[in-house]
Amino acid sequence: MSIIELKHVKKKYAHTEKYAVKDFNLTIHSGEFIVFVGPSGCGKSTTLRMIAGLEDISEGDFLIDGIRVNDMSSKDRDIAMVFQSYALYPHMSVRDNIGYGLKLRRFDKNDIKERVNAIAEVVGISEYLEKKPKALSGGQQQRVALGRAMIRTPKIYLMDEPLSNLDAKLRTSTRAEIARMHRAKGAVTIYVTHDQVEAMTMADRIVLMSMGEIQQIGSPRDLYENPKNMFVATFMGMPPMSTIQGSYKDGYFTCVGFTIKLSPFDRQILDGSGYNHSNIIIGIRANHIKMGTTYEHHFPETVITITVMNIEYLGDSKNIFFEPEPGVVFVATIEPHAEISIDDTIQLVIDPNNIHLFDAKTKDSIKYHTKKLGHS
């Protein structure tokens, strides 16, 4: 059973004032699939590279099984890594690429051959073993890179956006394959991506980062249903959550575009936390904005009237874009056959039981702590 601990890990590059990674704390248990996700430049790759030993850790401790490995070189940390560019050695055959790590560890030649054959079988590249990487397609190269990592049994697998160079279809199938391999190996996998769909589908726990700081750590469901702040709320989920600032007064939320009555639960929290007569931000996911008379009957106090700005037809649903306030774009996902065209004025219903509340100044979720208590 291995435990990986990152304690107050910070990264500051030479000649810069700012920290690229600020105070990173995380404990990873054996067999976990951890995904670091965030926009570009948020420090997720830097953190991964510090774990890999490719970057120095400026401050803090990195422990594997209780042993501090900050100053240990990559090869002694017992890790394997898949790079975004795959980083296959162009002058070596696929076989040598996969077997290089074993060769350096002075494995027996026949042993290497057997292991390479076995792993090639698993990732499905047996017929290309004698070819050079250049002769393979992107997907095949990706498999070689996976195979090269899988041939050893390290404590930690590191993956730096391994799917970003694949086309959409291949990405979906490879995603499933990586998840399957992770389960088969039972080691810790740390996976970096900027794609929240990859994070949602693969992770046991997601570490969402922004500007070098951890925004929230939790299961995909935690992050989606109970975001800690507005950044987490808008980053997770597709289409992104719509948010708007307005004022809260005696149970009613008023912004430029509309006025709605909040649910008793929300009102209780807002009143209890002293938000009456003050500015708040509300967030609504696209699938919580409904259309139809049934909903209007159900929730008559959250009906809003809007002008359709744009429509995206997706086959199984339709995304409707509108601007309650100029410059603030809202998205509603409705059933695909609704007869609506651009510039129509229609009525939509916000589900009052699924409104996220954020502090207007700190952008922190107002309901985060209450919901968290409710969970346990």
Partner: protein, 292 residues
């Protein structure tokens, strides 16, 4: 009758023009070579026989003259000893320093690279007198081993002059190898030396060959430096370029045909090397165009 479109005419004219230029340039390059070759086999002692192909052809006469009445094979040995030694020495410096400048970050890196660039601007010939003075004050010419020491000194000079700009070229070629490969090898468990030996060295081979061939060729064609540094030595201890030069420098007693024969023989090793390393030379020279 088929109608010929305007486009086809333009295309044909374009191709013709390309071939015209190619043929024209080939003639300019090949014709002197042809004359040299012909005069090397010419029995009469004249550079220009009345016909293009000499009337009396002898395959061996001029070469025998070269072997028996001059110290040609001494010069040959001297020259290629210098060439090989300075190539090996320069390559060693170029490869290692190119690797370090490309892969490691240290304080003196930028100043050192700029210094290399500046030093490289000064033509080596401008320091010839100083080189002679240095050799002299080191006591090389007075020593009992003046010949080997002089050659060692020359090799040293060729290594230094040959490794300034080439280090920078090598560095940029190392730069074109993605760092991901180093890092991947590092995680695979490779040491710094193994990364260098297993990953980078095979990938920069084309440039090593190109720079190697260029450094190899310099001593073969160099007349000026040997003239200064080897002036006081016996005529058999000189280099090819200088030795052959003595055959035609005296206008009255000049032997252009012997010279031509010597020049043809001197060209053999470089040509062979070019043929062996053709593949690398092409890929090395066209490097950086399109990355595969």
């Amino acid at each position: 009758m088929k109608k010929i479109s305007k486009f086809q005419v333009i295309k044909f004219l374009g191709i013709s023009f390309n071939y015209f230029i190619l043929i024209f340039m080939s003639i300019i390059i090949l014709f002197p070579l042809f004359i040299t070759l012909m005069s090397a086999f010419n029995q009469k002692n004249s550079l220009f026989s009345i016909t293009l192909i000499p009337e009396k052809i002898s395959l061996t006469q001029n070469f025998i003259h070269l072997s028996t009445r001059t110290s040609y094979w001494h010069w040959y040995l001297n020259t290629f000893t210098i060439s090989i030694a300075s190539t090996l020495g320069a390559l060693m410096i170029i490869i290692i320093s190119g690797f370090i400048y490309s892969r490691y970050r240290f304080k003196a890196r930028k100043p050192a690279l700029i210094t290399l660039l500046v030093v490289q601007i000064i033509p080596p010939s401008s320091t010839l007198i100083a080189l002679y003075a240095i050799a002299n004050s080191l006591g090389i010419y007075q020593s009992a081993y003046s010949v080997p020491l002089t050659y060692l000194f020359m090799i040293f000079v060729y290594i230094t002059t040959g490794s300034t700009i080439n280090t920078i070229i090598m560095k940029s070629y190392f730069d074109s190898v993605p760092r991901d490969l180093d890092e991947s090898a590092k995680i695979d468990g490779a040491s710094h030396f193994q990364i260098f030996k297993d990953i980078l060295l095979p990938l920069v081979t084309p440039m090593i060959v190109v720079l190697g061939v260029f450094t190899f060729l310099i001593p073969i064609g160099d007349v000026i430096m040997p003239r200064f540094l080897l002036a006081s030595l016996h005529s058999k201890d000189t280099t090819l370029a200088l030795g052959l030069n003595t055959l035609i420098s005296d206008f009255k007693n000049s032997n252009p045909n012997i010279f031509a024969a010597g020049a043809i023989l001197a060209a053999v090793p470089p040509v062979v090397i070019f043929f062996i390393f053709q593949k690398y030379i092409v890929s090395g020279l066209t490097a950086g165009g399109v990355k595969g």
